[in-house]
């Protein structure tokens, strides 16, 4: 309860979630639970069996004859009825919602069968005859980089004078790192209900889409309709996304076209086999790093050469994964001379998209492994090397060489905190003893700046400054929220952040409760989003951990505006000044004279029932819609510098491992993390996001890899082969928090939830490398892979 003197607030409390009641009862409303359009037919998708092939024949005649089949949409139909999807760079190969003449990844849609039910639709799939003429697939990113037509973008960036710095180096570390493709695999798959209205030339689609809503425009462009003719509605509940459900927009178009061609509403629920083959995953990246160090360990310069595999097509918002971290190329360090060559290549894999960490895991694996290697070669403990290089507290806010603006944080203090939390010195001593016994005991460190709230303009870095000058600039990250006090006095909030488990409803309720003097339980938050009726903007959605800054910011603003109006109404009715009114315990009351009060219900009632009694010039009603844009997110400048994110958290992690010499098993004995995410809106939610991010990071480090063979066949095609960690596999996690509020967000909160996904692969890899004395550790560190490294060392 917000107290009269403002000392106690709901924000900052570990308020248990409002979402839980319905979800625990099985009353969640996920996409497949909805039945928004009566008599919707069911779709099944015919998918390419080969990784790269010419489709020389697609005969659907037998499928059309099957009883219960309504019709079929083919790749040729898609080519005729739609335009290629636009993307961040012009794709050498146009990307459509289905393949027409050439299939470019195993699982690519070739046709859509629409039938009375899914079982029949799948029966019909088997009656479609397809002739393939195999084409040679290209599966290796470095090969693709040298192959005409597969290099989609090649841009180089330089900040400071790296060459001069390298000339003075005492040590140069030169190493190649490969980060494999993996996928966050939400337990709920994609779902779409599409209802084309021929008379209006418009599509209404329900989908468990998570934003960013720039992709709404991309979908509309492909459909060849103005944005206003694509009504996109998201369900109240979504079963996890972690970025993956951004890419469902491609299926909105595909099913929309099916509905258009066949004149019936069409619904499709993706199954897991489809999901693993053809939804989205993280990019794989090959990064060559050269890092120059002074004798005392100062990182003088760093050069990256990154080859980013985005799959068979550049699908929007790619190459965002490669540019999302652009402002943080220097990581947590003071290095002033930075260069990168960014190449985007196509291989015969499913197109990539947002996936938890979104460029961070790939960057920090390269950077933090480099630091660990350098430490060993310099004869320094990695913690000491970090100490000597971390951005210092007094330098905040800190501008990085590539244009990033770090807002706040005491990185060195966080490092000391984690070393203490992990009992680092004791563990190093333990390591000495273990080594004497011949045991493989390793300790790894990772220091990670976690950006949040992406600048919508950063993607334009994929173009040159001259190219950028030819189009209107893009910048910022804004969100919209509405707070309404209805005629009945009930408070409801409408947000466009499409939560998928992050607890936005609870956090919003806390914020509004503080502003209006209520309890969170008295605030109703509507999480479903409708582009026709919600307030929203291109940046809307839940991604790049933007909620705590921008989402919460918009809600806070709207709530403050409603509070302000409520105070003015109360003041008018109670005949005092608005500044004398405080909103407490569901009432507007006169400060120092609490008997003179009006309930919020009465205040709202006046605004609705008796608008004549409102102050002159005041509109009826009691609501506000606010658009809030995060500051400092300018478009890239002419030197290709960009503040790619608005807020920056910091994470310092220590992983302690023992490797079983006989089996190659990696046991993470302990994992310690210190997290500074600014002001914590709800510590319970924070802990949950941290643990979830950590679990994904452990998955990428030890278990998960989307694997294709050289012929382009997907090998990890089911959950029997794509290995997500389960409870026994998660190591013990100890955590601590620092709160350095952001000066750039309304509540001082920073995004979190991706940080440990960025740090854990690096920290664990560092620990295993430390245990084995081996530099070339490749993920995931499965027992056979680790044993191979041991075997090679022998």
């Amino acid at each position: 309860m917000a107290s009269a003197d403002g000392t106690r607030t709901w924000v900052g409390q570990p308020v248990p979630r409002l979402e839980d009641e319905a979800l625990l009862r099985g009353r969640g409303r996920y996409l497949d639970d909805l039945d928004p359009v009566p008599n919707a037919c069911h779709a099944a998708i015919l998918r390419s069996q080969l990784g790269h092939a010419r489709i020389t024949r697609l005969d659907v005649s037998a499928a059309l004859e099957l009883e219960g089949v309504v019709g079929v949409l083919t790749g040729a139909d898609v080519a005729e009825l739609s335009r290629p999807f636009p993307a961040g760079v012009e794709s050498p190969i146009p990307y459509y919602a289905a393949a027409n003449e050439v299939a470019r990844y195993a699982g690519e849609p070739l046709a859509v069968v629409v039938a009375n039910d899914r079982y029949t639709a799948e029966d019909a799939l088997e009656l479609i005859e397809v002739d393939y003429e195999p084409l040679p697939p290209v599966m290796d990113a470095l090969t693709a980089a040298e192959t005409p037509g597969l290099l989609a973008s090649d841009r180089a960036f330089q900040y400071g004078d790296p060459e001069a710095a390298f000339a003075q180096a005492h040590l140069v570390v030169s190493q190649q790192f490969r980060f494999p493709r993996w996928s966050a695999t939400p337990i709920e798959c994609y779902g779409v209900v599409a209802d084309w209205d021929e008379a209006a030339g418009a599509l209404t689609a329900w989908a468990n889409f998570q934003g960013p809503f720039t992709l709404h425009g991309v979908a509309a462009a492909a459909l060849g309709v103005p944005g206003g003719k694509l009504r996109l509605i998201t369900p109240p509940d979504s079963g996890g996304s972690y970025g993956n459900k951004a890419s469902v927009f491609a299926y909105v178009v595909l099913l929309g076209l099916a509905s258009r061609k066949l004149g019936v509403p069409v619904r499709w629920t993706e199954d897991r086999i489809e999901n693993l083959a053809a939804s989205a995953g993280a990019t794989a990246r090959v990064t060559h790093v050269e890092a120059a160090f002074a004798e005392d360990g100062e990182l003088l310069a760093i050069r990256y050469d990154a080859v980013e595999d985005v799959g068979a097509y550049v699908r929007a918002p790619e190459p965002a994964t490669l540019y999302r971290m652009h402002g943080s190329l220097s990581g947590a360090y003071r290095v002033q001379h930075v260069a990168t060559r960014n190449r985007v290549v196509l291989t015969n894999r499913c197109p990539t998209g947002l996936n938890r960490g979104f460029g961070g895991p790939q960057l920090y694996f390269a950077l933090e492994r480099t630091m660990a290697i350098a430490a060993r070669r310099l004869g320094l403990d990695p913690a000491e090397l970090a100490r000597r290089n971390l951005v210092r507290a007094e330098q905040q806010p800190y501008r990085t060489p590539s244009g990033g603006l770090y807002d706040s944080g005491d990185y060195p203090a966080c490092l000391e905190d984690v070393l203490q939390l992990a009992r680092y010195d004791e563990r190093r001593a333990e390591q000495q003893r273990a080594r004497a016994e011949g045991r493989l005991f390793g300790i790894g460190l990772a220091c990670v700046v976690e950006p949040s709230i992406s600048n919508m303009g950063y993607i334009t870095l994929a173009q040159t400054a001259a190219e950028r000058a030819q189009a209107p600039p893009k910048s910022g990250n804004a969100e919209a929220a509405s707070v309404l006090v209805g005629p009945h006095g009930g408070v409801s909030v409408r947000i466009a952040t499409t939560p998928q488990g992050q607890g936005h409803a609870t956090a919003c309720a806390q914020i509004v409760a503080d502003a209006l003097g209520l309890t969170p339980a008295e605030v109703d938050v509507q999480t479903e989003m409708d582009t026709a009726t919600s307030a929203w903007t291109v940046a809307s959605g839940a991604y790049s951990s933007r909620f705590s800054g921008v989402g919460a910011g918009a809600v806070h603003r709207a709530a403050e505006q409603v509070a302000d109006k409520a105070r003015r109404i109360a003041a008018h009715l109670l005949e005092c000044a608005p500044d004398d009114i405080e909103l407490v315990d569901g009432k507007g009351r006169v400060r120092g004279n609490p008997e003179r009060a009006l309930s919020l219900r009465r205040i709202a009632g006046t605004a609705h029932w008796n608008p004549e009694s409102l102050p002159d010039g005041m509109d009826a009603g009691l609501e506000s819609t606010s658009f809030y844009a995060a500051p400092n997110l300018e478009p890239p400048d002419d030197q290709d510098r960009v503040a790619s994110s608005a807020a920056h958290g910091f994470i310092a992690d220590v992983a302690v491992v023992e490797v079983d010499r006989a089996t190659g098993e990696v046991q993470v004995l302990e994992y310690a993390t210190v997290h500074d995410a600014g002001r914590l809106l709800n510590p319970l939610l924070v802990e949950g996001q941290m643990r979830g991010g950590f679990a994904h990071g452990v998955g990428a480090a030890l278990f998960e890899r989307t694997e294709y063979d050289d012929d382009g066949n997907l090998l990890t095609g089911s959950f029997m082969d794509y290995l997500c960690p389960t409870a026994p596999e998660l190591p013990p996690l100890t955590s601590a928090h620092r709160e350095s509020p952001s000066p750039f967000t309304p509540l001082g909160a920073k995004g979190l939830g991706e940080g440990n996904t960025m740090s854990a692969p690096a920290a664990i890899a560092n620990a295993v490398a430390d245990a084995l004395g081996h530099d070339d550790v490749e993920l995931p560190l499965t027992p056979p892979r680790v044993w191979q490294l041991l075997d090679e060392s022998r």
């Binding site: 839980d20 009641e21 625990l24 099985g26 497949d32 996890g240 199954d271 679990a695 997500c724 998660l730």
Partner: protein
Amino acid sequence: MIELAVTVNGRRYREQVAPRLLLSDFLRHTLGLTGTHVGCEHGVCGACTVLLDGVAVRSCLLLAVQTDGAELRTVESLAQGELNPLQRAFHEHHALQCGFCTPGILMAATDLLAHNPSPTREEVADMLSGHLCRCTGYEPIVQAILDAAGAT
């Protein structure tokens, strides 16, 4: 079509079903009990877990017709008005985020606690190994189940 007579959450149903209709689809789409979720249809993720004659089973690996004459319980049966102690423990421990895997875990945990009222942490983790969650990192779920075991 085959006639199926089954009791679900205490209510008797009689339906004509195709033999190949999966129990998960029967519950969700024929009976409208959408609390049971589908995550993989090959028995790995555990989201579809329900109780069949008191024992936890994967509803995606059963044909609806196989449950003829049986008693099924789904997540909708757990709360008798108020949330039950297991559900309350999940709420208190923040053991769910997106909630999609939750019903399956609640049913499996119900089975576990019915047959083993005081499980060890290892036993809880072992049971959970048959359930995928991508949100919570599992620890809060383990704590919630141990807490519920202690409470009842």
